[in-house]
Symmetry: C2
Subunit: 159 residues, 2 copies
């Protein structure tokens, strides 16, 4: 079962974020920042009926991250934690997730806001967000605890 | 940019679901079903501090799905829709996401409930769930609309 799994990007994400530092680290911190996806034309038919959704999940590859670390100090803390207890990009499999707001679909171009994704990021998947299935309340948040979540920008630590 | 991306499973998900039909289709429908992950030992250090979280996201490969379809009739509807407006597994890149409840971590074994994942599924990533970043409310849900979401089981359609 320990064989490699190979995916092909389905498109490219374009954004105003051109470098890995000074970016918003969560899409909820990036509500006024828009981006767009150029889906490769062969997948355009798969967008049918997506325009009825207000929120979509984007799964993508952190393409500028090299290698991985099992212990990292996340942007939101000053202590190190296991990589799987953080959202840091330097993961064994560098897959990122952002929940963004869908603005408009024109042909194979998908415009969205709340963009916390680096320019030229290869897109792996788009999934509709269903609040009935995807929200959870009264959760325990480990090392983050109940500290107020303050808006934080990235730096170069995971380059 | 249209090059292949290769990942290696970080572990295997074990569950009571041995075949692709008659499974819960969402983790919220599987609250009484537990499963466990055998993380490959080389990644165990990355679990440090994960035990403080009540909910985690699992990203995995739908290993029994062959090929993809751009139009599918999802389990929750009788009409066909573009694959990216559904959670159906027969996707260009067959990556699944489940938000599950963390029960216990023992060494490199992670016990969880709300398991809607097939036995022997290769695991790609574990991320902590942060309700401050991951919940969305007042969303538009496309073809699902405001129909009450009824508990549905899978069948063989995406085999």
């Amino acid at each position: 079962m320990n064989t490699e799994i190979t995916y092909k990007p389905i498109g490219i994400i374009n954004s105003a974020w051109k470098k890995i530092d000074d970016m918003p680290i969560q899409s909820v911190d990036a509500q006024n920042t828009s981006g767009y996806i150029k889906l490769f034309p062969e997948y355009a038919k798969g967008l049918t009926d997506l325009n009825g959704f207000s929120h979509i999940m984007l799964l993508y590859h952190f393409h500028l991250v090299k290698g991985h670390s099992l212990m990292v100090t996340p942007f939101m803390d000053t202590k190190s934690h296991g990589i799987f207890s953080t959202r840091a990009p330097k993961r064994p499999n560098s897959i990122g997730i952002s929940i963004v707001e869908l603005l408009k679909i024109e042909g194979n171009t998908i415009h969205f806001s709340s963009c916390d994704i680096l320019d030229e990021t290869p897109l792996l998947d788009i999934k509709p967000f269903f609040e009935d299935f995807d929200n959870r309340i009264n959760t325990q948040k480990g090392w983050l605890g109940n500290r107020p979540v303050k808006k934080t920008l990235s730096d170069k630590r995971f380059k």
